[in-house]
Symmetry: C2
Subunit: 200 residues, 2 copies
């Protein structure tokens, strides 16, 4: 940044540039947009951040984020208590909810096992998952983990850990995504979709 | 957004998605990043926004943003008071400062003339530019406006308005940008660079 902007603006730009999706250039543009629209954008955002900082907490049951604990999903009696869907992060939970394809509860792992990054089971919410699977009348644990090496390593580890819990452990189907043109799909996806083919 | 995130998080995401460069998806990612890193990111950003909201103002001389008025540049005695560089917005001023190619003062127009968007001279800081050009012993006004239709319309209008001010009115050179490969340049730039060619 130029020294011309003053330390307060430079600090704002530096913090904005730490957000995912914003580099130094877009952080400058964002800072300018904020400073130009103070009543409509800057002050409301400052307040929303302060409110979030104060009131949003981690659900002690599932690990999701909400202003209440247990979170609105864990607290929702209309949701099926026999199903637990394991997701890597809260972002994946939100994606599942947007898809409206699941009406059970969640368990947010908080990451994936990764030998490369030195993430072991003790860094994730694995023990509480096993406890939930054993105690709560849960019948099925759905592993909605990413189709990556770390995601699959984690899924295998969890399936192993859950083998004594008397629940069925399932995972999301693999195949051609909606709107997916074969020409643009990677070979692995096509091969999986072929192996998992079903009657039309 | 999913209803699962709670109104406070949804509001934060909605505000973040209004920043230039952030769409709904990246706003969600940014909100999660903020909520995950409260001490390091969320709280400092909330404070930086509050400080900026309270302390950053518009320089009454040049129209730039700073915590002091006149701004640090207008107030800098080491800068040449005979040169005034006209820029569209504060972002362009910062870009000029990063280039370290100008040691005079600035004048931030606050936009460009645009028949399409209905922006006339009265919406821009034109009168104060003419006043500055006449009163302050200014000898040259450099029009550092974008090489777009609106930018050039504005430049012509300003040159006309400044014709009685006894200053020379100049504009940035046009040509091949540093690192620019001819193959990737538009025809207009190549034509301008050819017309403005100079001894090697």
């Amino acid at each position: 940044m130029a020294a011309s902007a003053g330390p307060e603006i430079e600090r704002l730009i530096a913090l904005l540039s730490k957000l995912p999706g914003l580099g130094p250039r877009s952080a400058r543009r964002a800072a300018l947009a904020l400073l130009k629209r103070r009543e409509q954008l800057l002050q409301p955002l400052a307040e929303a951040l302060a409110v979030a900082s104060e009131r949003v907490k981690t659900c002690s049951t599932c690990g999701s984020l909400d202003t209440q604990d247990p979170c609105a999903i864990c607290d929702d009696r209309s949701r099926d208590p026999t199903l637990v869907c394991v997701v890597e992060e809260v972002g994946a939970l939100w994606a599942m909810e947007r898809a409206s394809a699941f009406r059970g509860r969640y368990h947010v792992l908080g990451g994936l096992l990764s030998a490369l990054d030195g993430v072991g089971p003790e860094a994730l919410r694995v023990n509480s998952l096993v406890t939930r699977a054993m105690e709560e009348g849960v019948t099925e644990v759905i592993l909605a983990l990413p189709a990556t090496v770390d995601g699959q390593t984690t899924a295998h580890y969890l399936a192993e850990r859950l083998s004594n819990a008397h629940v069925s452990v399932t995972m999301l189907a693999r195949g051609v995504p909606v709107g997916g043109e074969l020409d643009w799909l990677d070979d692995g996806t096509i091969a999986q979709a072929m192996r998992a083919r079903r009657p039309a």
